[in-house]
Amino acid sequence: MAAAGAQAQLKFFSMQKDSIPLFRGFAVSFDMVGAGMLMFSDYGQYEGALRVNLHDEWFPIFEAGIGKATHDDEVTRIYYSTSAPYFKIGVDKNMLKDKHGPNRLYLGLRYGFTSYKVDIARPDFVDPVWKWDTGYGIKDAACNYHWAEIVVGIDAKIFGPLHLGWSVRYKQRLSHSEEGDLDKTWYVPGFGTYDTKLAATFNVIIDI
């Protein structure tokens, strides 16, 4: 039983033996979902990626972007703002049997990191008991955030070097730190809002 498990693991990590060379080139991609979120909502990100193609099976990938949030809440009147770069590294594996076909089904992992600053403010309000005017604000609070992602994605060749692809990502915070007494932040560049677990991307991919 243990031997069968080890053999299955070995098969997962090994490459098909054929005449196709190991290095198959690079691909660059751009995520349209994050850019759309940034255009039509209070937060989002511009994200690009550089992917290495190893034998159409393994795809080491570096992703980088700029995450931004500017939110002015109508109910609580809390203003939140941040903008910072973030970075992710990881690897995808093509799960299709036909590794060298035009389409791919990926299963992958990512490690993400960002260092960012947040501004949180609210217009002055009155202390309900003592009636003093109260200012509320946190300026340039330095924070950092580490997280992991499990990625399931598809990639379809359209024509020439152009591919389009979707991915769904399950995100898990690994560690975080916030300056001073700020317990947590609302939007983390690259990760999303604090309670984010799932996210999706729609990628325009060009083989180079």
């Binding site: 809390i78 003592w130 509320y136 001073g180 947590k184 932040t185």
Partner: protein, 159 residues
């Protein structure tokens, strides 16, 4: 293919966000009458606490508590020192004590969906000694955790 579409639809359906504000958003200071032996003490007299508002008028912040052992008082959002006047009323007792409590005020943020609040760090307490023997900060961190006792009050009476 249909199987993959079903899985994707299920994943997207469970990705709803929620508003995650704390159930208790009150930030209050908790006091406990304590004997010199360190036991909690029940105050048999009637206790009221008054403070002074910005406009100079008094505001009642604790009204005629009887058999009080532990009690909560509001804490100002962002004033460096709260001045609290304790009124002790019994059959043969009509005394007041004034308590000056210094603190640092810390803006607390949960989410843009939750109201702004302040946590506090108590830094110093001084008081008059008509009924009060001593007042001690036992837990300087005042948060929305209602169970924590922050200040022990050792009265002269009851010992």
């Amino acid at each position: 293919m249909n199987k993959w579409m079903a899985i994707l639809a299920m994943v997207l359906m469970i990705s709803c966000t929620s508003i995650d504000c704390p159930v208790n958003n009150l930030v209050r200071t908790r006091y406990q009458f304590t004997s010199s032996a360190g036991d909690s003490l029940k105050l048999l007299d009637t206790l009221s606490v008054v403070s002074t508002r910005k406009d100079g008028r008094d505001t009642l912040i604790f009204n005629k508590g009887v058999n009080v052992c532990k009690f909560h008082l509001p804490i100002s959002y962002s004033h460096p020192e709260d001045v609290l006047v304790f009124y002790f009323d019994g059959e043969n007792l009509h005394e007041t004590d004034t308590l000056w409590m210094k603190k640092d005020d810390i803006p607390h943020f949960e989410s843009v969906d939750c109201n702004a609040s302040f946590f506090h760090k108590l830094t110093d307490i001084r008081h008059t000694h008509n009924c009060l023997d001593s007042v001690v900060i036992v837990n300087p961190s005042v948060t929305n955790d209602d169970a924590v006792v922050h200040v022990y009050i050792y009265p002269k009476i009851g010992d």
